[in-house]
Symmetry: C2
Subunit: 423 residues, 2 copies
């Protein structure tokens, strides 16, 4: 790769294009650092900032504005999952214009294995590689190491695993995961943690949490020792663990909060536990994690899970449900949930969702989408995914508006029933 | 289905929306017919028309304008194949805006089996079912009956076959195929024929051709006895057969021409014979088929096949090659042919095709598309298909411009080499 000159990097970094909203507060500062032996360079960087705009009077729901080098994010927000550098079946143009996604998620494990770090670095980072000039968050790869890879061994030093693609052997340490995420170049990167399964006995959960905390310290150290590779700022979010044990969650949330990072995440939930346990743990964590920083509940969830968790004080969500379930014919709509494969839609020529933000859902019919799904046509997955993501983004957008006008709680109680109705 | 009132039907039929180009010549006439027992109705119909605008001085290439009730088609034209009511992996919005398709093809065999005639009729025809308000052509189903269905028996009365989906037994007669295509409602429908394989012995080719001619007579009779179901005109194209035997092709072309239909097709080519034989037969047929009517060469072909056949006097093409090969990683570009899976593209961050009419090909890189293809991501098929179809439509558009300015032959000789180069 022909490396761009420092001047080009700086020009781009400070241009209006990168920062989508001129109103957004930006802190510019000058920093000196060594750039791969090229010498001492001086670049401008924007500090990520989070602005709390409103808190619901009847719940802990919050509306905020998270500023990144690739544009602002209006919270609460849902982040579509773009596993291997693509949100499956969706063009980026559609993500932007139809789904109105503000930030997407990439999976470190997948991107590390394919296309690999050399290609990503040569491309100038993930944003350029995939052609998405908006914010990106990457997970730490831990979750996939535990769930996908063929053989894995977790020890204090890190996690050893074999690729699910070709069986090759790899080792992720907290430090290496920071380095990988520097190379991927997402705006928000996640600490390397162990996501405990459910159920998980107390002793294991406690030991695992303690190791996650020690890994976090190593992540923070490495993060602070290194610099972004592509001239724009990255933020590291630590992750609360502790399974479904209140004392562990409290301890973990306090430890994570003490790190003073830009934002904080809650992991290890939505792994099979009852919703009430998930809400209880989330509520507890939110009561401890700082109010002036964004809170990200990882891997959650159904529309109801999202609305309930917003009420507890969560600002950011990601989940494969809208994309994965779309490919199996499960549609989330403004009126409720549809299994589009069902016989009842065979002659239903009404729009897929007449109230959808996406024009394609207002023009294509249920009968047509059912036909595509039964015929195994790719357009079925394309349309269903667009529908579900448009709905998820619409839902969090509506939630935000309700928070801003102070009517979130009553709206949420009504909406949870409506959007979870089986049609 | 709630049938629309006659007034609604008529209003739609005469509206400016349906007929895309006000300049296009339209003949309106009044016709009486019985409408499924509802009584005698009077509707307005537009006569399909073909206008020959220019013929190349150094070849038989022609530029024309084919007017249909769903808009005009600038010839020479390539028709993307939309087998089961979808051009695989492509949104109709993309077909319109990115590919700039003017007419697409549907397969009678597939649509008849799924979603089936009841659904299509209840939807108000294929255009409405799929949400495509531009011209459509349907084949007769014959080709798929012979190539896809599990058991088939061809006799004078028609073809008996079992569905490749569920093994159910069906029978296509020339009359029934006309009825089916009335229900599907494409603007151009095809006569039921037997497409002979290659090689095919002379006696079988001769017998088969004679039966195809008798089937054509039955198709024409049924076509003339029946009316369109959705208030807009349909045209029936007969098909020349005769394998690679000049005397049979001559005899068949003369018979087909004698029917005086709106347009004519050449079938039974591009089934494995050498290109030179295909061109020879096509040339012979074009010398007989009337100049003032569109000529459609079925199932052809590579970019070179298309350019050479345009030079022989062909106006319309369809082929699964751009769509099917896209899904396997074969890209047709303005500079030549690319196997995007190859290692050489791994770090190639140049656009997929810098000269493509489709913006996505100018922004996404070869390295990214290679990654998607290797990862088995749906977006790979989506982008590659868009690329190939955009290219095919660009190619015939360029051909048309060259014909109009009188430089087709020399441009074609240069272009055939360029677009068939393996990059």
């Amino acid at each position: 790769m022909k490396r761009k000159s420092f001047c080009e990097e700086r020009a781009k970094d400070c241009s209006g294009k990168r920062v989508k909203t001129p109103k957004a507060k930006q802190l510019l500062f000058t920093r000196n650092f060594s750039f791969r032996g090229i010498g001492i360079l001086t670049i401008f960087t924007t500090y990520m900032s989070f602005q709390l705009l409103a808190t619901d009077k009847d719940s802990n729901a919050r509306a905020g504005l998270l500023q990144t080098a690739h544009g602002e994010i209006q919270t609460p927000i849902f982040m579509p999952v773009g596993t291997a550098g693509t949100v499956k079946a969706v063009h980026f143009r559609e993500l932007e214009r139809d789904v109105k996604a503000q930030i997407i998620l990439g999976n470190t494990y997948h991107l590390y294995l394919r296309p690999g770090l050399n290609v990503l670095e040569a491309a100038g980072g993930l944003h350029k590689f995939i052609g998405w000039d908006h914010p990106i968050l990457t997970d730490s790869g831990g979750y996939q190491v535990y769930s996908l890879s063929e053989i894995r061994k977790i020890k204090e030093e890190g996690a050893e695993f074999r690729s699910h693609i070709d069986g090759s052997k790899h080792f992720f340490s907290p430090e290496y995961v920071m380095d990988i995420q520097r190379t991927i170049g997402a705006d928000i990167i996640m600490a390397f943690d162990e996501c405990t399964p459910y159920p998980c006995d107390y002793d294991y959960a406690k030991k695992s949490m303690a190791m996650t905390h020690r890994w976090l310290d190593r992540c923070v150290t490495r993060f602070q020792e290194t610099q972004p590779k592509y001239g724009y700022e990255q933020a590291l979010f630590p992750i609360v663990q502790g399974s479904v044990y209140a004392d562990l969650r409290k301890q973990s949330a306090e430890y994570i909060a003490s790190k003073g990072m830009t934002g904080n995440a809650i992991g290890g939930l939505s792994v099979g536990e009852p919703d009430e346990e998930m809400y209880g743990m989330t509520d507890l964590c939110c009561s401890i994690l700082p109010k002036d920083k964004p809170r990200y509940l990882m891997g959650v969830g159904t529309p109801a899970n999202i609305l309930e968790s917003i009420a507890l004080g969560i600002d950011m969500f990601d989940c494969v449900m809208p994309t994965r379930n779309a490919r199996n014919g499960m549609l989330f709509t403004t009126q409720g949930i549809i299994n589009i494969k069902n016989e009842k839609w065979k002659n239903d020529f009404s729009p897929i969702d007449a109230n959808s933000e996406c024009e394609l859902m207002r023009t294509h019919t249920k009968a047509y989408l059912r036909h595509l799904m039964h015929s195994g046509e790719m357009l079925a997955a394309q349309l269903a995914t667009l529908n579900n993501l448009s709905f998820y983004l619409w839902l969090v957008g509506q939630a935000r508006e309700q928070i801003l006008v102070g009517t979130y709680k009553s709206w949420k109680d009504k909406m949870v029933k409506q959007v979870m109705t089986r049609l």
